[in-house]
Subunit: 201 residues, 2 copies
DNA sequence: TGTCAAAGTTAGCGTCTCTTACATATGTAA
DNA sequence: TTACATATGTAAGAGACGCTAACTTTGACA
């Protein structure tokens, strides 16, 4: 349980302590949730003294921000990759996005909740920007499928409906006890249903 | 900011400290979020020593459970009340449920996140049972509207789709920064759209 | 009126936290 | 080889927190 993370610790100097701390932090957030994360834990896992992080981060908050930034960037790239194999303008692309979104939430619930589970959002401009970039991907797909010339009001509405649904599905799926209420419903089938129901006229 | 909550404090003995502590806890969770809630804070707000709660609750967790129980019961009753004015079997009833669900999330985001924003759910049987009761309300409405004889597979699927959507809409609406991405979309209109789109054949 | 349980209080233990000041080891470049 | 900047360690401060033990006040009831 207390795996240490020090890729190339060469005695006193650590190969890349910053990266190691980010990874340790990410793992701990995933394992215990953000409210039980402590800098000390991250240090223990990185095999380093509790004072070491402060040479790389201003404080605890910046460690968490670093993790969030890295993870959301990864998520964005995953979404783009999920899009690639499917023909432009096909509904399958929307489904791929949804599938990926739910998948990310289930694979990394700690990060997902860190990003979305607080009333006070990211606060970090870089994060907000990345969030917008990611949402733009969705809006562009929707516009393309609806044959609209850009992000019209209609596109905005349908995109937000899709996002709401997929986001809710993610939240419910993450919690086994809640997901259970949906019976043995297949996520794929739900995404399929929602896709055409929301995008049709 | 440090309002005290002691309804009829008559010197040494408090009128109903247990209730006062639950209310103080509820307020604090609402104001600072669950991860910044402390028993000490609740005591300060209730105008009582930090040892007092332990005459009424076994520990911090049980204080939080009490709040959650009380709030979810209130939410369930709100939903039933929202249903009442509308004719049986009408789509308006579903919209009323959705409106109330989103409304609750926006009025009491702290509690809402406490209930839904963790991978580990309530754990408390009483809570789980109440959650099921509340969901049953939705399923029954859906069955009634679809003209199905009880909670069939179709009813389960459509109910879960509605829940996912409304839940996601709640989460996004709670966070102004995220809600903003939906432009100036009217919640009422979104609920309307989703209602018939999900329930139609 | 006297007794007793219930419901408070005060005091403090033990633990964990984030953070800093200062000492020390290391790698690099003159 | 020496000097210096960078990276880490050691030690400790300052404070919050959860919770318990033991004492005190209060109200109710015999």
């Amino acid at each position: 349980m207390a795996e240490t993370v020090h890729p190339e610790k060469s005695g006193y100097h650590h190969g890349d302590l910053r990266a190691a701390l980010v990874e340790a932090t990410r793992q701990l957030i995933e394992e215990k949730g953000i409210d039980h994360f402590s800098v000390s834990d991250a240090c223990r896992r990185a095999g380093v003294s509790t004072a070491a992080p402060y040479k790389h981060f201003k404080n605890k908050g910046e460690m968490i921000n670093a993790v969030m930034l890295q993870s959301m960037a990864r998520h964005k790239n995953e979404m783009l990759a999920a899009l690639a194999p499917h023909p432009e303008g096909s509904l399958e692309r929307i489904r791929a996005l949804g599938r990926n979104y739910v998948g990310f939430a289930m694979r990394e619930p700690g990060i997902f909740l860190l990003r979305f589970g607080h009333t006070d959002g990211p606060q970090l401009p870089a994060l907000e920007e990345m969030g917008q970039d990611t949402y733009d991907i969705v809006q562009n797909e929707v516009a393309s499928i609806l044959g609209e010339p850009g992000v019209t009001d209609k596109v905005k509405q349908r995109s937000f409906m899709l996002w709401s649904f997929v986001h809710g599905l993610s939240m419910l799926s993450m919690n086994p006890e809640l997901a259970e209420k949906g019976g043995n419903l297949d996520v794929e089938e739900l995404l399929n249903q929602i896709g055409w129901r929301v995008l049709r006229d």
